[in-house]
Subunit: 198 residues, 2 copies
DNA sequence: TTATTTTTGTACCGATTGTTACAGTAATGA
DNA sequence: TCATTACTGTAACAATCGGTACAAAAATAA
């Protein structure tokens, strides 16, 4: 007695995934419901029946981006290998995202935070949650580095994580805005040196 | 024989300044020509006769933001006082901008870079130019710090400037997206420690 | 004054905005 | 089969989009 009536002939998550790329490349205000329909292949009826509104769909999209993103980031930061290698890999992954990905350029979460956090508290909540989780993971990595001596002491894990966090987000923004690969590599150098430098 | 005909009864720069705040708080796609007209008090005739198009007005706005911004930033970084004080003041200024300003929150240049650089090469050019100038100024400051010994050596001025640059932009983005003042202060700590820490 | 030039406000343009209404279709449980 | 339920596609909605046309207004140079 659970499901009666015609079942939908598309997969919810696949549609969210397609809509994600549309929002990602055009922005929230920069794309229309027509764009979303033609990209997903859905009619307006199905789209609104399933997601309610453009705003709700965007919410589902950003939530989905957050979930897959934080998993990927945590995997990179908690992988085997030295702390230095892991942080290096993290930045290298971001570099690929910003310069060589088949996905739209940049970080959707940053875009969402800047374009919509002010107008949509739920977006601000997701972004804050993501940042908090990422920062906590970074703190654990820094603690490990301090414990093993990979990071020469004198700084707290919180300070180190905060620095790495902000540098990472600046990295993403500058990559997207200027597409300057030389600068990107200088930032990677500067960031790694600031943590592991003699 | 220079100027004939009815002179406009508004000040060009003042209008750019008002339009700046409209674009700043709503984004390029998020604000309409109607918004711009009602905020500036201009009719559509005057607006289009003077600026040509929404895109052109936005360009003038971003250019204006760049010019006044880079001047302010350079003044902070080249003011008298120790290198440490100057960098501290720079971040403190950004903190005020993001949490206590009467202006719209955040950095218009970042917004412009993320929302429009991909679609408007002229926007990308302004952002790149601004970042390059800011970075050069930071490099000079770092060189001075290294020369005087305020910054304990082993790192190049370029690496130091790149780090400070990315951390600064991440700072702005996180402030705007999460409005988390505790995090902001941790980032300031972490960034300053990474440069001046023992 | 008069001819010229520019600005200004208003009306208007077709296109697009996000959203809804609804008839038609397709699956279900009884 | 049949009543019920849900999904799909199309048409349409008022509102708004960026931009233009144009006549009235206001200033100048002569």
């Amino acid at each position: 007695m659970s499901k009666r009536g015609r079942p939908r002939d598309f997969d919810y998550t696949s549609i969210v995934d397609v809509a994600m790329k549309t929002f990602w490349s055009k922005g929230y205000n920069g794309c229309s419901t027509h764009d979303l329909c033609s990209d997903t292949g859905l009619g307006k009826g199905s789209l609104y029946n399933t997601f309610g509104s453009k705003q709700d769909l965007y919410l589902a999209v950003v939530e989905h981006y957050h979930e897959t993103g934080i998993r990927e980031q945590q995997a990179l930061l908690e992988s085997p290998g030295s702390v230095k290698e892991r942080l290096q890999n993290f930045l290298a992954w971001a570099l690929v995202e910003d310069f060589e990905s088949t996905n739209p350029t940049g970080c959707l979460l940053i875009n969402a935070g800047l374009e919509r956090a002010k107008d949509d508290p739920k977006i601000e909540e997701i972004v804050s949650r993501h940042v908090e989780l990422l920062k906590q993971t970074m703190e654990k990595v820094m603690e490990e580095g301090l414990r093993t001596g990979e990071i020469s002491k004198k700084r707290s894990a919180v300070d180190l994580a905060s620095l790495f966090l902000s540098s990472y987000y600046g990295f993403r923004v500058l990559n997207t805005s200027t597409q300057n690969r030389t600068l990107a590599e200088q930032i990677m150098n500067g960031t790694m040196e600031s943590i592991f430098g003699a």
